[in-house]
């Protein structure tokens, strides 16, 4: 079981390394969108500090969305998905491997970049840490929930827009608790409650999403 998940992750990471443009463009999108806000609003530190958690989290959601349509589309196009569906192992485990690989190349770099970008918003030190932590905890849920949407819109014409309409509403709880954790730190309430709920969302998302995704993929393959 672990062997299969490792094989999927290994293959997807190797593919991502050979196609770095995809990974890098999503990261640059994140950097640029986040950097536009301080430039547009001007040096009002009080306002920027207030906006920071929401802006960084919304930008992270959108950057994750960018790479989602290709999560299964390439495998579907070249026939690999059929082979994965015919392997004598649960398709859900394959999906879990793909979700983890997607997080490693999209969510993890976003979280690691966030503290650097947060400086532009004059965030205090502890808020920067909580921001990074909340992204680390929350982004796996984005990859998991996104996988369901990517599977449901597989092979649909104009699937990218449909995918956003389908997935972004489901991201709302993650956004609320993720941005809320940073807010709570700055107002002195402490982020534990928000981070715990975020962790629960991620655990639920990463555990259940692969099975729903596998069912959607089997329908797409018919």
């Amino acid at each position: 079981m672990l062997k299969l998940i490792r094989a999927v992750i290994g293959r997807d990471l190797r593919l991502a390394m050979r196609r770095q443009a995809d990974v890098v463009s999503a990261l640059f999108f994140f950097i640029i969108v986040v950097s536009l806000f301080p430039l547009g609003i001007g040096p009002e530190t009080e306002l920027l500090r207030k906006l920071a958690p929401g802006v960084l989290w919304v930008a992270a959601l959108l950057a994750t969305m960018l790479s989602l349509p290709r999560l299964f589309a390439d495998d579907h196009h070249d026939g690999t998905l059929e082979q994965l569906a015919l392997a004598p192992q649960p398709l859900g485990l394959v999906v879990l491997g793909k979700v983890i690989a997607h997080w490693l190349v999209s969510g993890l770099p976003l979280a690691l970049l966030a503290p650097v970008l947060g400086i532009q918003f004059d965030l205090p030190n502890d808020a920067l840490w909580v921001l990074t932590l909340s992204l680390l905890i929350g982004t796996p849920a984005l990859s998991g929930i996104g996988a369901i949407g990517a599977a449901l819109t597989l092979g649909v014409r104009g699937g990218g827009v449909l995918l956003s309409l389908l997935v972004l509403p489901l991201y709302i709880p993650v956004l609320i608790f993720g941005a809320g954790a940073v807010d709570a730190t700055m107002t002195g309430l402490g982020p534990q409650a928000h981070l715990s709920l975020l962790g629960a969302l991620t655990l639920g998302g990463v555990f259940f999403a692969p099975w729903a995704t596998a069912a959607a993929l089997r329908i797409a393959l018919e």
Binding site: L4, R11, G79, Q83, A87, E222
Partner: protein, 204 residues
């Protein structure tokens, strides 16, 4: 070992075929024939369990394939229209990755040997996107060299291949039948296979 009875295929509003059935025992091969669009690929996908049949049932060793699930898939090797290879990976990486994902043991030496047999030695470290169509098909077919699963389902295996490669694939299928395996394939060119009994099924 592989029985199908009274299969019906409906695509959209159109019924492609109905009442299709056959029995295939070890060491036998089934040629599916029919015009373009007659449902050959659909029937193959049904046999793999990818597409559910509108009517009828498929049995493997006396049990419906839907109930066998992973036990059936562990004995199945499917080669579809698409080559299922990644353009960014080299032939060697492709072969090893697909074996690992299909839960088959394949060591790098065996994989290199398979690539040598399909005539890709010297190309094993070149990304597949630089290969020609026929060479990509050879990469996909290299899977068959060390494939010991009982049922091979091959969709147009000879497409894009030159005569030498067609001979080679026919040889692989022959050896597979000699080991007691089963094969179901669609093709528009009839190629003599060295061993095993050949049945034909015409879809109309």
């Amino acid at each position: 070992m592989l029985n199908a009875s009274n299969l019906e295929c409906v695509r959209g509003e159109r019924r492609l075929f109905s009442g299709v059935g056959f029995r295939l025992a070890g060491g036998e091969m089934l040629y599916l024939q029919g015009k373009n669009g007659s449902g050959k690929t659909s029937l193959l996908r049904m046999l793999c369990g990818l597409t559910p049949a509108a009517d009828g049932e498929i049995y493997w060793r006396g049990e419906p394939i839907g109930r066998l699930g992973d036990d059936f898939r562990a004995e199945l090797c499917y080669l579809g229209h698409h080559n299922a290879i990644k353009e960014e990976l080299t032939p060697l990486e492709n072969l090893l990755a697909s074996a690992r994902l299909a839960d088959e043991a394949l060591d790098p030496d065996a994989a290199l040997d398979a690539l040598e047999q399909v005539g890709l030695l010297g190309r094993e470290d070149l990304a597949c996107r630089y290969l020609s169509q026929g060479q990509k098909r050879r990469v996909a077919l290299a899977r068959l060299v060390h494939e010991r699963r009982a049922l091979w389902v091959l969709d147009e295996p000879y497409v894009a291949l030159d005569t030498a490669a067609v001979e080679l694939v026919a040889g692989l299928i022959g050896a597979h039948l000699q080991r007691g395996g089963l094969a179901v394939l669609t093709t528009h060119q009839t190629v003599a296979v060295s061993a095993g009994a050949v049945r034909e099924l015409q879809l109309s």
